[in-house]
């Protein structure tokens, strides 16, 4: 059982236990769909939806599930919400659904979601679990936005589709291709580690 306050439960997902920068989880969508801010944002929102509802359901029925079949149960619950997210995007936002392609169904295997169920929702109250899910989602969305903003601005000269760089700017096409994702994530992780070291040594 967690001993943090509800506020701390939310805040920890933003930085101290940020799923991407600190836990290095969910890197597949982080690398694959951050080529434009709109894609990164949509992916973040879809993951948020799945994570919050999975945490809600898992924490409310945690006592009913025998521990031997817990992983199977979690996956079925997660997969249901992923399918809902996928259908919803296909029905109401077809262009986004098309550009995210197979990465929406792949949220099922996103370690952030299963990891939170196993590590948190299965041991904590509904209120705490949903707060934790909100915090983790916010951290994930934050990481997706930072990464996709850097990649879209440098790679296409735009932000959310709006031109932000002047005509003098030659887009770095590499940034919206897979190598750009790895280079950007690597540099961001190095910066995150450096910040962490600095703050620790000050304490």
């Amino acid at each position: 059982m967690s001993t943090k306050t509800i506020g701390q439960e939310f805040i920890k997902g933003l930085w101290d236990e940020n799923p991407v920068f600190r836990q290095l989880l969910g890197l597949c969508p982080t690398l694959a769909v951050t080529n434009a801010v709109i894609n990164g944002f949509a992916m973040g929102m879809a993951t948020t939806f799945v994570l919050i509802f999975s945490s809600l359901v898992v924490s409310s029925i945690k006592k009913l599930i025998p521990s031997q079949v817990r992983i199977a149960s979690y996956i079925v619950i997660i997969a249901s919400f992923v399918t809902v997210a996928d259908r919803f995007l296909a029905a109401f936002f077809p262009p986004i659904s098309k550009s995210l392609g197979p990465y929406v169904p792949l949220i099922v295997v996103n370690c952030i979601i299963l990891g939170r169920q196993e590590a948190f929702s299965s041991k904590n109250t509904v209120g705490r679990s949903v707060t934790d899910a909100l915090g983790m989602s916010a951290g994930f969305v934050l990481a997706m936005l930072v990464l996709s903003a850097i990649r879209e601005i440098l790679g296409a000269g735009t932000f959310f589709g709006y031109q932000v760089m002047g005509p003098w700017f030659k887009p770095w096409i590499i940034m919206i291709l897979p190598p750009g994702a790895f280079i950007t994530l690597g540099i961001l992780l190095a910066i995150a580690l450096q910040i962490e070291r600095r703050t620790k040594s000050r304490k």
Partner: protein, 201 residues
């Protein structure tokens, strides 16, 4: 309750609940998703066969569908050939409009592609690439004009333009177009496809 029984009961009920939940969601969104797909295809048909009021699917197989664009009176005024093939990186899916005798191209639209941004991806650019595919004489296989021409007037009627630095993408589009035209001609010869308007149903 015995543990093994409990495991079966819990998993079965979770499965059943999630199954019925998904069936409902699937049912609610099915029509809208089908409508989205149809709209996308229809928009492309109207784009490549100008003057289309309604359209009809005439033929369908893997990687090749043929639609007929019809005018007010229900006569087919042109074909919209939806074909796909392998490009430099991944599948290229395109829609080619021709007149009803399959001798002249109307317009070309690229529906889906993952070519290199800035190079091969220029196949979606109208000014740069697609404009060179309008009004071509496609009764014989089209050929690429190399090196790239800077205006449509420089091309002979059976030629289309190359993208400088992305020869492979240009060639891929060309081979999809030529291949699908040939296939459609064969289908007409075999009587599997007709340019006469058919009654729906």
């Amino acid at each position: 309750m015995k543990l093994s029984v409990r495991m079966v009961v819990v998993l079965t009920s979770i499965g059943l609940l999630s199954g019925s939940f998904l069936a409902t969601v699937g049912h609610l969104t099915k029509e809208r998703i089908a409508l989205n797909k149809q709209r996308e295809i229809e928009a492309a048909i109207i784009q490549v066969v100008p003057g289309t009021v309604s359209s009809q699917r005439l033929y369908e197989e893997r990687d090749l569908s043929v639609y007929g664009g019809k005018d007010n009176e229900g006569n087919i005024i042109g074909f919209a050939i939806h074909a796909s093939g392998i490009g430099f990186q991944d599948k290229i899916s395109l829609m080619l409009g021709t007149n009803s005798s399959l001798e002249r191209t109307n317009r070309l639209a690229i529906l889906d592609q993952k070519e290199t941004p800035g190079l091969g991806a220029k196949i979606t650019d109208y000014e740069f690439f697609l404009t060179y595919w309008e009004n071509r004489d496609c009764s014989v296989p089209l050929t690429l004009h190399k090196p790239a021409a800077s205006s449509p007037e420089e091309l002979s009627p059976t030629e289309v333009n190359t993208i400088t630095g992305a020869t492979i993408s240009s060639e891929a589009v060309l081979s999809i177009v030529n291949g699908s035209l040939e296939q459609v001609r064969k289908l007409i010869q075999e009587g599997k496809l007709s340019s006469e308007a058919q009654d729906v149903n």
